[in-house]
Symmetry: C2
Subunit: 459 residues, 2 copies
């Protein structure tokens, strides 16, 4: 056993340090599609913040790069470790420390999955409302990527639902930020700086999440439209009504066909409607009172008809749940149909028609194709990119990101840059901002041990 391994083992215990062949393949990647898996030299499974701190001190002293891992469900490669590096897996730090009903927060360790958190808060009538597609994702992962998901249109993304952190700096110092409080104007907001930093600034070892009262009633409306432009025009109109949908998604017909096929879904849409429609809008409403929900569903259906929907289906509980679940699994559908890469750009929602039309043309010109769905209310577009040739694909991806930025958007709405999208960011972002981000990075991590290659790429 090397000196480094011996020291790391001393911190977490022999049983919780893995090296060499003892490291399972699963630790060599997350769910990102394009990067080759890489085994780290060490996997440590700490049990507490103090062990994380000691690991970071040891890594600093030995110049070992450190990658944090929650559930490994990320889609940008931020949890793909480096050769020679240390992967810190938070799987043992998976306690729900407290569900605090008075302050409507939960205090959790980073390894807690969303499924586990929901099981803990449910009996109190409360929910953490961030709902990325993968409920096996961990709260720590949500912090790292600033996770989003379908409910963000009403309840916000991780950033809006994470109130405080205990975090370990690369120097081994442990700090607390924020708290069981929804507002604070006392120095710079370290919580929000660490949220979305993809393990490059500090490692969260405890997270205070905001909880909302569970609303007892919800319903889902599915509206097919003749074309995607009409869907995009309908989105702001629905939002302007103040109906506050908690889901407002578009699905193009290619993606809907793939979802229906791979998930074996029966939505009761007649063939002739399906054949004449290029896109769907999914609107879900929630309310604490069933009568208000029914009224709002009716109003929504009327509104969608006025806005040109070909038809409007109010899905019953089971069908609604299956559609939403299938939509959440759109990444797996994209993977199943052989997507070569995925896009998670965000643009102002007013720019979505132009963006989507241009992207279709770009993809055809590149000899490839795109199919998509996304968080229409947020302008967050998810595309499966089909383009085998790596050179053409890289150019296509660059063109897509470049257009999104020209339209006032950004490369990633919720997946993060990770390792996979960092080079595009380096190429396209304002160099003044990159230089500033690098200086901020150095103010946390002067030795550069935390997830090198992520956000800033290799350059």
């Amino acid at each position: 056993m090397s000196d480094v391994a011996a020291r790391l083992a001393q911190i977490v215990g022999d049983h919780h340090l893995l090296t060499g062949d003892a490291i399972p393949e699963d630790y060599s990647h997350d769910e990102e599609l394009t990067l080759a898996p890489v085994k780290p030299d060490y996997v440590a499974r700490p049990s507490c913040a103090e062990e994380v701190a000691a690991l970071l001190v040891a890594a600093s002293e030995h110049g070992v790069p450190v990658t944090a891992r929650g559930s490994g469900s990320g889609l940008s490669g931020a949890a793909r470790p480096q050769s020679g590096g240390l992967l810190i897996s938070f799987e043992r730090m998976n306690a729900v420390v407290e569900v605090d009903t008075t302050n409507q927060v939960a205090v959790v360790q980073p390894g807690v999955t969303l499924t586990e958190l929901d099981a803990a808060t449910g009996p109190h009538g409360l929910s953490y409302m961030v709902h990325p597609g993968e409920l096996s994702s961990s709260v720590g992962g949500n912090v790292g990527t600033n996770a989003g998901g379908m409910r963000a249109v009403k309840y916000g993304v991780a950033r809006h639902n994470i109130l405080g952190l205990q975090a370990v700096l690369p120097t081994g110092e442990i700090i607390r930020t924020g708290g069981r409080i929804a507002k604070v104007s006392t120095g710079y907001d370290l919580t929000q700086l660490i949220v979305g930093s993809e393990g490059t600034l500090a490692l969260a070892t405890e997270v205070i999440v905001k909880l909302h009262p569970r609303l007892d009633h919800s319903a889902t409306v599915l509206a097919p439209f003749g074309n995607l432009d009409q869907v995009m025009t309908a989105v702001p109109a629905v939002l302007a009504q103040g109906l506050s949908p908690y889901i407002l998604e578009y699905v193009d017909n290619m993606t809907m066909a793939a979802i229906v096929h791979t998930q074996n879904l029966e939505l009761g849409i007649p063939d002739q409607v399906r054949d004449s429609c290029q896109a769907y809008l999914v609107v879900a409403l929630d309310n604490r009172l069933v009568q208000r929900l029914d009224e709002d569903v009716e109003r929504t259906a009327e509104l969608l008809a006025e806005l040109g929907a070909v038809d409007c289906y109010v899905l019953e509980g089971g069908a609604a749940r299956r559609l939403i679940e299938a939509r959440e699994r759109a990444f797996w559908t994209a993977k199943a149909i052989g997507a070569d890469d995925i896009v998670d750009t965000v643009v102002p929602r007013s720019a979505m028609p132009k963006f989507l039309a241009a992207v279709q043309e770009m993809a055809l010109a590149a000899g490839g194709g795109v199919a998509g769905c996304g968080h229409a209310g947020d302008g967050n577009v998810h595309l499966a990119v089909l383009c085998k040739d790596p050179v053409a694909r890289k150019k296509l991806m660059t063109d897509i990101f470049s257009l999104a930025m020209e339209l006032g958007g950004a490369i990633s709405g919720e997946h993060g840059l990770g390792r996979a999208k960092a080079s595009y960011f380096m190429e396209l972002e304002d160099p003044t901002k990159i230089a500033l981000l690098r200086r901020i990075k150095e103010s946390f991590d002067p030795a550069g041990i935390l997830n090198p290659g992520v956000v800033f790429g290799q350059g």
Copy 2:
């Protein structure tokens, strides 16, 4: 005219650079109570981002400290300039650039006041929902302090309603952050780092604010309680119901008496009720449908009765508006009754009874007194501190802040640290965090020209 003055005048034009006796007294302070006014050496009134950039370059080269000023309505002295310094007043940069109804945002210059913004968005049925007490405050000031106000319990603080910035770095570089988008996971969140940084990191020259649909109907319920503990116990119970009040305020009887007296307010509360009550809860509800509002008001009144309210008054439009306005002007009431300082701490709402009881005792022991009101839903406590002796007062303030932090809170919920509360922050905050904040400050402002003395104090 000095070399510096000549150079600054060249940037903004002679007419928009003031020096010496030409500087009106108003520029020497904001509304903070304890600091002596200080005239800056220069007041510049730029018209655009490029002029702001040129001013910062000139200030850097000449080592001139720079303070930004919006409307000067701040309560912590972040806009109080320094002798020898340059005050940049944003009064000429007061254009509402665009009200974008599709993306539900407004793009404004920092000098726009909340009254002006509301006038611009109103005709579109939209509102910027941050509502600090002072509607003459500017959007740029809201960015600087991360302004809050009564509606934060439902609509969040400035942080949650500011989506993007154009900002000038102290080096004169102009960057854009965020955009007309509600979510983004693309590099560190510079928008949220600049929001609440009180003019110490960068100066906002354009702000993208989130707008909400205006709800047509609102109502205000006023409930007197026997004691403050009962009020504080009622708060989480109201929130747990999912009634989503947009205002949830407590007012202690001393403050209510002062408000009623100074504002000449008639609330129709019988003397015997008033005499038996130590505190009031104010609950305001809004809805797009009047019938739902009426139902929710009725449910709220029932609930407050169950929670021990002595009575419950549903205030008519005029009375409700006057009470809310009077509550918004509580700072002026505090000033009128001769408050020696004010406190804006935030604590977890579960800790409010303990905090308020302890603070009363501390104040009595210091030979002074406190009266208060605050954003009960957010745990944000506003206290008028009466304590003439400066040594005793400083100790009392330190003890109050220290207790708030022990209880998991922070020195300021929404006013910021400014110049006035910075020394308490330096004394009480974790030195590891202060060192990190300093490094972040240096990553933006290596020459330290932006608002020295603010946030970090003189140390």
